[in-house]
């Protein structure tokens, strides 16, 4: 019996007990600084001699391009988007993450199922439905959840890319412009993330501190897991 298990009914023909490696998840909403911290964590892991595979949403060979193209238009509905992301995730799980785990890599993933479940939930999907859809996912070794308040997110977004359609949840028509919609949408997303924290055992890291401090906190959380059998 290995360390790995699925959340529920797993993937056909995959024996989780065969998997070695470590599965490290960095979660958090849009603009919270995930990619910065994934980058720093990767460097640190490699400097310590771990082989790292990093992956993130819409990076599947199967569905990545199609999903991005679908988001360019204006007809992508909530359920369709959720399932498109689930397809992208499944392809990456089966073809990137699992083979890397089998080979003993540290798989470092920028978001996992939790962002996808949160997005589906705020779009009105039935909570039980979403949970069951993703029960083929592997339970990670650690889930680092980067948290920020909506005010902090707004400040960061203003300093970087500006507001965009999907990160503002404009498809939900929650406000009269990008700003109003962003605040309403991200508030709902943060609420769903918070409600998942206990259930899935998130390690919550507050991102109000400096990048260096946050990065150090993340490394402290990840370190004991690396030496564990």
């Amino acid at each position: 019996m290995g360390r790995f298990a699925f959340y529920g009914q797993g993937l056909p023909a995959v024996e989780p007990g065969e998997l070695k490696g470590k599965l490290v998840v960095v979660e958090g909403t849009d603009g919270v600084g995930r990619s910065t911290h994934v980058g720093l964590l990767r460097e640190w892991l490699e400097s310590r001699g771990h082989a790292v595979l990093d992956t993130g949403m819409t990076r599947s060979a199967l569905a990545g391009k199609g999903l991005k193209a679908a988001k360019e238009g204006h007809t992508l509905g909530g359920v369709t988007m959720s399932l498109f992301y689930a397809t992208d995730f499944a392809d990456r799980l089966e073809n990137q993450m699992i083979p890397a785990l089998r080979a003993g890599f540290v798989v470092l993933t920028d978001r996992y199922t939790f962002s996808l479940m949160a997005r589906a939930t705020v779009r009105g999907a039935d909570a039980q439905w979403v949970k069951r859809v993703y029960e083929f996912a592997l339970k990670p070794d650690i889930i680092v959840y980067l948290r920020a308040t909506v005010d902090e997110l707004v400040t960061r977004v203003m300093q970087t890319s500006g507001f965009n359609y999907w990160e503002s949840g404009m498809d939900l028509r929650l406000g009269e412009d990008l700003y109003d919609s962003y605040v309403a949408y991200q508030t709902r997303l943060l609420g769903v993330f918070d409600s998942m924290a206990d259930e899935y055992g998130f390690h919550v890291v507050d991102t109000a501190a400096s990048i260096q401090d946050v990065s150090d906190q993340i490394k402290e959380l990840v370190e004991p897991m690396l030496s564990a059998a």
Partner: protein
Amino acid sequence: MKTYGKHRFPGRLFVVEGIDGSGKSTQLALLEKWLESEGYGTFFSEWNSSALVRGVTRRGKKKKMLTPMTFSLIHATDFADRTEQHIIPPLKAGALVLADRYVYTAFARDVARGVNPGWVRNLYQFAVKPTIAFYFRISVEQAMTRIVGGRDAISYYEAGMDRGLSGDIEESFRLFQGRVVDAYDEMVKEFGLVVIDASRSIEEQQAEMRAIVTKALTGARKTRIRRWVDLHSMAKASRQLNQAS
């Protein structure tokens, strides 16, 4: 999100199911002609027809990239788009929606591929429950004699070649579709599928279908518009007019 069986719409949803070669598409086309001649507004929707998703499915099949799981999920994505764009809005508008293949196709195929039956049923919880779902039952042997184009027309995934049942495509088709038929048979009771014996004549099957559909049409909206939005038949009619004059 409304789940299966919870939707309430003025329209009606008629579905045909069965393996390739069962004649279900022919029967649905005949039903559509008849409903239109009776003055109903119909809207046709078929499997793998989402403009947003189809390209991904096609490429995945062509390059043999699909596993049982992603095969299942990409088809569910396609079906979700159809549900959101082409099934729910016409049903709300009171149209008769005619679907060539529905969720039961996914349940049958995905289970035949080794996907968990409970998981795939949950996956499609967002689907509208059909007014009537017809299942055209036929043996695999008989279906094979009807597939136009014979051996060359059998596709890799339709034959379940991804499951490694046999290196020979016809033999693999026979084995895999046999499993699909078993899965359909098990669903008859579970979902109340209306079984049509597809070995009988086309006329007999159509008469039976019409008799069953008639009972479900009480109170359905008739419309002067011949179809939901059908530029194709409008264009055809105008070409015919031009030719006649």
